[in-house]
Subunit: 106 residues, 2 copies
């Protein structure tokens, strides 16, 4: 689903990743982190797709809410496992959404 976000400005965290071949517990952890992220203060919504590349964009009210999620203990542990096991490479970009427009074909 296309993320439901308010009028800009708000923040986007663009997380782009290439996985290893190691699957142990990945899907469960990804789902758990998605659910946990959606309970955080300041979260707006999350979008995700994966082919060769995985792209997850989470939308946040402000930088403080992103920092708060970054310091979440369960999230720190998941990131540690991500670096050790599941991800070959990733890149995280923090971006201020300045404008948006949409189309809906009824």
């Amino acid at each position: 689903m296309i993320a439901n976000t308010p009028q800009p400005p708000y923040y986007a965290v663009i997380f782009t990743s290439e996985r290893t071949d190691e699957d142990s517990g990945y899907a469960e952890m990804a789902q758990k982190m998605l659910e946990l992220a959606q309970k955080q203060p300041g979260i707006l919504d999350v979008e995700s797709a994966r082919e060769e590349l995985g792209i997850t964009v989470s939308y946040w009210r402000n930088l403080d809410s992103i920092k708060h999620w970054k310091n979440n203990v369960d999230h720190i542990q998941a990131r540690e496992k991500g670096r050790n096991t599941w991800y070959r490479k990733f890149k995280t970009r923090i971006a201020l959404v300045e404008s948006d427009y949409h189309f809906h074909n009824i």
Copy 2:
């Protein structure tokens, strides 16, 4: 491939879409637009993944280069066909990337 981008600041255009069931010419046009975008002045790189949702993030040097691409005649025609045929919904967000960090497991 994870996009190759310089030190921030730079811009991201996050294009999120839900497709219709209509495939006529979509893959060819998507490929053509990707190649054309990568020749535009100010383009940095492009990342893309599709499952139920498609997410394409293109990275640009500044707002002027984004505007220049938005006004490209072939791109305007492709967007018109996109609205009429290929996309059920889409959302485009223009965002200023303020910071980034990466991980590479060697």
